[in-house]
Symmetry: C2
Subunit: 112 residues, 2 copies
Amino acid sequence: MNKKACEAIPYMNHHSYNIFFTNLANPLKIGIILALRKKERNVGDIAKELSVEQSKISHALKSLKNCKIVNVKNRGKERIYSLNKKTILPMLELIDKHAICYCKNKCCVKEK
Amino acid sequence: MNKKACEAIPYMNHHSYNIFFTNLANPLKIGIILALRKKERNVGDIAKELSVEQSKISHALKSLKNCKIVNVKNRGKERIYSLNKKTILPMLELIDKHAICYCKNKCCVKEK
DNA sequence: TATTCATATGAAAAACATTTCATATATCTT
DNA sequence: AAGATATATGAAATGTTTTTCATATGAATA
């Protein structure tokens, strides 16, 4: 399979999909993503904004970063996390549209 | 918030994202989705194609259907499942591009 | 360089999702 | 109607991910 960089080869690998989705399948991580949508922030500010204990945020950020859903830069002793908008924003929009078009706006009601 | 059908309202609800992604965060379900990409199939055929026990497939299909990622129709005693391509295909493409552009093609390597 | 502030990390516990297996349901066939 | 085939379902067992908490690391500052 051709693997030239940044050339769209749809349906590449099974495993990437799984890791990517697993990473997103978590309310805290979604919360972080939505919080980073408007502007980048350091860990403490994210924790404050979401009222969530710091190490929990750090753990979540670690896997998001691992998957390149967020990026980091250092500023003194702080770490500034920002969203990889190019992938995530269109993805959220797809779900929004899905919810509106197929799920009567209350998409994907949890079974049972 | 305006909720007129099929009008894009980005970043609607937190909870939908979570259920949607949770639903996809599973190798079997990804397998089913990829199997349904080319053509619709009944449960038994999916099971055969993936070499997976039937009730496992049924359980997976149930939640995919619940989230409208797949649709069903009846044909005699069979149930024919098909993919909701409009949402899923562009979503997989987004991940492909993400993997290629940000993850050197082996996207989202599992940590540790 | 000792202290403080910001963040990361490991590991056990807890929460949650999937698998398995036995069985139920529903349609078709005879 | 009885049997066969296709699929669905409930519940316990299993597996995976997240949370928690104690502590480590690393940069800044006094």
